[in-house]
């Protein structure tokens, strides 16, 4: 199971673009990269998942370089409500035992 490394915390300001990078040097061929968001007293919420190159949805973009040893979650024009913990997970999407790290605590300031 691939282990991930993320910054413990980050802060930014409203209206800015925020990029959170995750390292996963031992990612396997069948592994996908998935990001979740968690607010206090709530369960994590799925944000985005990708395998290679770039994936974009209505809330975020995920950039994955060719070697797939890292990935970057990009949040465009953040607001105060984006303050949360963001988790990067790596694993086969049919694998039931993904490892959750401590995540990145993102604080958005006015």
């Amino acid at each position: 199971l691939a282990k991930t490394t993320q910054p413990i915390s980050m802060d930014s300001y409203e209206g800015q673009e925020v990029n959170i990078t995750c390292s996963h040097n031992n990612i396997a061929t069948n592994d996908y990269i998935t990001w979740y968001q968690q607010f206090p007293s709530q369960g994590p919420r799925f944000i985005i998942q990708g395998y290679k190159t770039k994936v974009t949805n209505e809330v975020a973009s995920l950039f994955i370089p060719a070697d797939r040893k890292s990935s970057t979650l990009s949040l465009p024009r953040v607001s105060l409500s984006d303050t949360a913990v963001y988790y990067c997970l790596v694993g086969d999407w049919s694998n039931y035992q993904l490892i959750w790290g401590a995540g990145t605590k993102l604080i958005i300031k006015p």
């Binding site: 996908y32 998935t34 979740y36 007293s41 709530q42 369960g43 994590p44 919420r45 799925f46 998942q49 395998y51 988790y87 999407w93 049919s94 039931y96 035992q97 993904l98 490892i99 959750w100 790290g101 401590a102 995540g103």
Partner: protein, 114 residues
């Protein structure tokens, strides 16, 4: 609204007592999971179920048991609670046959064992 329902929302339990945390999903997902989350840490998998009728052990299964009698329900039982089981418990589900959807989580049960 489709999703996962967990009950109770919170509970204070005396050590040594038996407790079952309930989890129900209405998305017909084949896989379900129980996680615990301790303060400031990520989630740790307790037990999982690939499909109705099967269960498996996760990272921290000791002191917990599960059953999966049907697709929708996945209860977690603490046979004899201990203070170290004080935690927030999250139930989740996924359609393991479809990439790109990730896990859907419930709102959690905050359990305090005293």
């Amino acid at each position: 609204i489709a999703g996962i329902t967990q009950a109770p929302t919170s509970q204070i339990l005396a050590a040594g007592r038996r407790m079952t945390l309930r989890c129900t999903q209405d998305m017909r997902h084949n896989a379900m999971y129980w996680y615990r989350q301790d303060l400031g840490l990520g989630l740790r998998l307790i037990h999982y179920s690939n499909t109705a009728g099967t269960t498996g052990k996760g990272e921290v299964p000791d002191g917990y048991s599960v059953s999966r009698a049907n697709t929708d329900d996945f209860p977690l039982t603490l046979a004899s609670a201990v203070p170290s089981q004080t935690s927030v418990y999250f139930c989740a589900s996924s359609d393991s046959n479809t990439a790109g959807n990730g896990y859907t989580f419930g709102s959690g049960t905050r359990l305090t064992v005293v």
